[in-house]
């Protein structure tokens, strides 16, 4: 028997690595005009949630390109140390365009991208840009503002409850906008906030939702990756606001609306520009005007004038006549943060680390 050489060992090792890491590896041979797209998800695709919305973006590319695209999806990659290997493999396999779908994919993508200048990378929730690494993110706060408008009407106790994964700007900003939207209807509304310090703990999320309801909140908005908040609100006859996907089937008829994420335009645009050879690294921050943030159908139990008010606010945000963080905005201590007639600059919204007046919670 021939002794295995070191070179062979490396070869087999690489093959084993590919086989174990990439279960949905497509055929290696391809026609020259086929676009190869890779996407990395943080969790498996389920009925609803963050990853589901990204999978719809990938499906939109497939619908647009038909058999002119080859898609490789790798799911359940959350930790940066796993992600780096996966991104390197995707780029090494000749993918033209690779999507990362989590903030935690940022560092690995920044490491891998410079070594594969031919591959274009698009990173959702990313901050840092490179020549072949662009970022995109949704203006969640526009969605929560509109949801807040309905909540301001629906809340009898004038108390809203908000559950967030972590106290980070991407959560704090939308929480603030939710209350600002509600206060635009009823200035007395306050908002109690709980951070789970976890994206994914349905048990704790249930306890948090019950806690908020016990403290008198009758509208619950939960920005985590499960439908538990909506579910618990429904069980306890409280209104709810869904996040990422329409969660009405969990809500027992109590979902006011949901601010959903439609990444399809972003995915298709990136694929088109890579195919056309004119892709450049961009920083995209997209909202209602771009159809990236969308509102799920408003609850039919809401009075018609409330729905009209929300729709008017939506039109005004799209036209620019209304800005969720338009002055005057005070923070928790009563200090004016945005003056009358001004709006909070984009950089300040992306880095927001303070609560607006009426928020009951602590950012440490």
């Amino acid at each position: 028997m021939k002794r295995a050489t070191r070179r062979e060992m490396l070869k087999y090792g690489a093959a084993a690595g590919l086989a174990s890491g990439l279960t949905t590896w497509p055929g290696m041979g391809r026609a020259a005009d086929t676009l190869k797209v890779g996407a990395v998800y943080v969790s498996p695709v389920s009925e609803i949630g963050w990853t589901k919305q990204h999978s719809l973006g990938v499906e939109a590319i497939q619908a647009e390109f038909g058999d002119k695209v080859e898609v490789t999806v790798i799911d359940n990659i959350f930790r940066p140390q796993d992600a780096e290997r996966v991104f390197r493999e995707l780029a090494g396999a000749g993918n033209d365009l690779v999507f990362g779908t989590s903030f935690s994919h940022g560092t690995p993508m920044q490491k891998v991208a410079p070594r594969f200048p031919e591959t274009k990378f698009e990173h959702c929730s990313g901050i840092k840009h490179l020549k072949n690494l662009g970022t995109f993110e949704a203006k969640y706060f526009e969605g929560t503002y509109l949801a807040g408008v309905t909540a301001g009407h629906a809340s009898k106790s004038a108390k809203i409850g908000f559950i967030g994964g972590f106290p980070i700007p991407d959560i704090v900003g939308p929480a603030n906008a939710l209350l600002l939207g509600a206060q635009s209807v009823n200035p007395d509304v306050t908002c109690n906030v709980i951070f789970l310090n976890s994206w994914f703990d349905p048990g704790k999320e249930k306890e948090a939702a019950k806690t908020l309801i016990a403290q008198g909140c009758d509208v619950i908005c939960s920005m985590t990756d499960t439908a538990t908040g909506v579910q618990v609100a429904g069980e306890n006859d409280a209104w709810s606001i869904g996040y990422a996907s329409d969660m009405s089937k969990f809500a027992e008829g109590k979902q006011l609306t949901a601010f959903t994420l439609n990444w399809a335009p972003v995915y298709v645009r990136a694929a088109n520009s890579v195919a056309a050879g004119n892709w450049t690294s961009t920083e995209q921050w997209l909202g209602l005007a771009d159809d990236v943030v969308q509102m799920a159908p408003y609850n039919p139990e809401l009075p018609a004038d409330v729905i009209t008010a929300a729709e008017k606010a939506q039109a005004d945000i799209v036209s620019g006549a209304l800005h969720p963080f338009g002055g005057e905005v005070k923070d928790q201590s009563g200090q004016v943060r945005v003056k009358e007639g001004e709006t909070l600059p984009i950089a300040d919204i992306r880095g927001i680390n303070w609560f607006v007046e009426g928020m009951i919670g602590n950012l440490g």
Binding site: N76, P167, F200, P202, I360, N362, L363
Partner: protein, 306 residues
């Protein structure tokens, strides 16, 4: 008063999966076996329970399937640790990881699909008493079952001959073997009981508490159950107290956050862990008493001689 009642009932419910899994592990460890795979077995129970529910089985049978699935997974551990006498730490950790994978596979088709939850049952007469009825007589059947299991485990360990045998095997398997007990067979039974209880704890999460399947939904509760057994110094009463304390502190820290306490949420989130460890260490301070409860042969493989 309403707030107190709500905190009280939320605590009892939050503690239930911990109590179920920890009581199971208590029996396992009392027999001298350390199964670190509770988290994996809970996940397997949770996933199979949801699977059975969507296969159209009635809720009762879905719970039974979850228990059986937990038992089956613990048998894997049993074969490795008891028959082949591998390192119990390694086998248990392997089971924890294996369970996460298997449960993800089983649950693949049901991710975030709502489940018809098991509803609380009302006890005629008692449930209508104001406050008391709400606090004590308005739970789902599995909460009452966890109370029954607490009684059964305490009675079994300290009042029955079989319990004495189990403890003897945990203390000195060689002596127990010498007077004719089947050490391996009894340890197998203990391990399966632990697996079944962990599966039940998992099913409580996926069928009752947050009625849906999401991957890794136990979110570390298996490890907390494991810690409760050790910190309670292998006493059933303290296991239950520890679980209530942990559940109660979790609810209280959420209440504190929602009220806007001027403490960072990260610090509040760590309180349940700190409080539970501190209290259980304090009440387990008597070293002599602790030595009596510690199963001396814990995690040591047993090889019958002669």
């Amino acid at each position: 008063m309403d707030l107190f009642v709500s905190i009280f009932t939320a605590t009892i419910i939050a503690a239930t999966p911990l109590i179920l899994a920890a009581l199971g592990e208590l029996i396992v460890e009392k027999s001298g076996v350390l199964n670190l795979g509770i988290e994996g077995m809970m996940l397997i129970g949770a996933a199979f329970g949801v699977w059975a529910h969507f296969a159209g089985l009635p809720m009762f049978l879905a719970v039974v399937i979850a228990v059986l699935a937990g038992m089956a997974s613990s048998l894997l551990f049993g074969v490795l640790a008891l028959t082949f006498m591998t390192n119990q730490y390694a086998a248990g950790l392997a089971l924890a990881i294996f369970g996460a994978g298997v449960s993800a596979f089983i649950g693949r088709g049901f991710g975030s699909t709502p489940v018809e939850a098991i509803q609380p049952i009302d006890i005629p007469g008692l449930s209508n008493i104001p406050v008391i009825g709400e606090m004590f007589f308005h739970y789902d059947p599995l909460v009452y079952f966890s109370f029954v299991m607490f009684g059964a485990v305490s009675w079994f360990l300290y009042q029955t001959k079989a319990g004495l045998t189990l403890r003897a095997i945990g203390e000195s398997p060689d002596s127990a073997h010498a007077i004719g007990f089947h050490v391996i067979r009894i340890r197998y039974l203990a391990v399966m009981f632990g697996g079944g209880m962990a599966g039940l704890g998992g099913a409580y999460l996926s069928l009752v508490y947050t009625p849906l399947w999401v991957e890794n939904m136990t979110a570390g509760r298996g490890w907390i159950a494991l810690a409760l057994v050790v910190f309670s110094a292998w006493r059933p009463k303290r296991v239950v107290l520890g679980a209530w304390l942990f559940g109660g502190m979790t609810i209280l820290q959420l209440q504190g956050q929602a009220m806007g306490l001027a403490i960072p949420s990260e610090v509040l989130s760590s309180l349940p862990y700190l409080a539970t460890i501190i209290v259980l260490v304090l009440i387990s301070q008597n070293r002599q008493a602790m030595a009596l409860d510690f199963p001396v042969s814990l995690a040591q493989p047993f090889r019958p001689k002669g």
